[in-house]
Symmetry: C2
Subunit: 128 residues, 2 copies
DNA sequence: TTGCGTTAGCGAAAGGTTTCGCTATACTGC
DNA sequence: GCAGTATAGCGAAACCTTTCGCTAACGCAA
């Protein structure tokens, strides 16, 4: 038995989630159009994946409306945070900052972003 | 055919890589002891996983020495960076800083780490 | 040299993910 | 109402990952 809510989305699941984050709550057809664009897969596949994801609790759906409307169960932010936690746990054995340093060192930050990060650091220092 | 070097390590593979990062180049026996500690798996399993990882290019081995010595093909840092790139690509569609902010906001940083990050920000600001 | 523990490898089972074919049902325009 | 199209679901195939049993080869001590 899979522990409830413990599993990270797989590759295709993530692709579907991202579509839902972009489009907002959508019927299968719309999701499928986007997914097929990227992968050329079948309508049945999209339906099935959504049903699997529903079982796993990754998406929710409105059974009232027809056609059925699906939406992501988690926000993009929360999902990213979970991924990060796992990455930190698995690769860095728990030190979040090592990872942050990596990301910063990748050097894609603009002045504005650096300023934003600094502001956040100030807030964190205040709290801890 | 899997594209060369394109695949992220899977769960167990990552666990083995982490052991190799900690221990440095090691014979199967040492890797196995650590892995079994965490997961209770069989010696054969460790051998097989290493052979699979060798095929995928995730580890290298010294065929001279006996018993055979394995080492990670990539550094921890480079692996983390690849994970991050993928996360950024798949979840955030390319904006690295969004992710960094998430990491910071996860709030696991100590005072010392915050100081370190700030120092890095200073350096980056100087350069850009 | 014989026997024993260790190392190495392989094939296939077990388990998870992704794909699709087939079927049923609902909706739409005639 | 009927035919044609879109929606929904299910089981199983195809594929990948993880696990292990079995076997072979090696090294070492009695």
């Amino acid at each position: 038995m899979r522990e409830l809510g413990s599993s990270q989305p797989t590759a295709v699941e993530l692709e579907i989630l991202r579509i839902l984050w972009e489009l907002g709550p959508s019927p299968v057809r719309d999701i499928h159009v986007r997914l097929a664009e990227a992968k050329g897969t079948n309508y049945s596949t999209t339906v099935k994946m959504l049903s699997v994801m529903l079982t796993k609790g990754l998406v929710k759906r409105d059974d009232q409306s027809t056609p059925l409307v699906y939406r992501a169960a988690m926000t993009r932010e929360r999902t990213a945070k979970k991924f990060l936690s796992e990455l930190i746990e698995k690769v860095y054995d728990g030190s979040a900052m090592s990872l942050v340093l990596q990301a910063l060192a990748s050097g894609k930050a603009s002045q504005a972003e650096i300023a934003e990060a600094r502001k956040l650091l100030d807030e964190m220092e205040g709290k801890s």
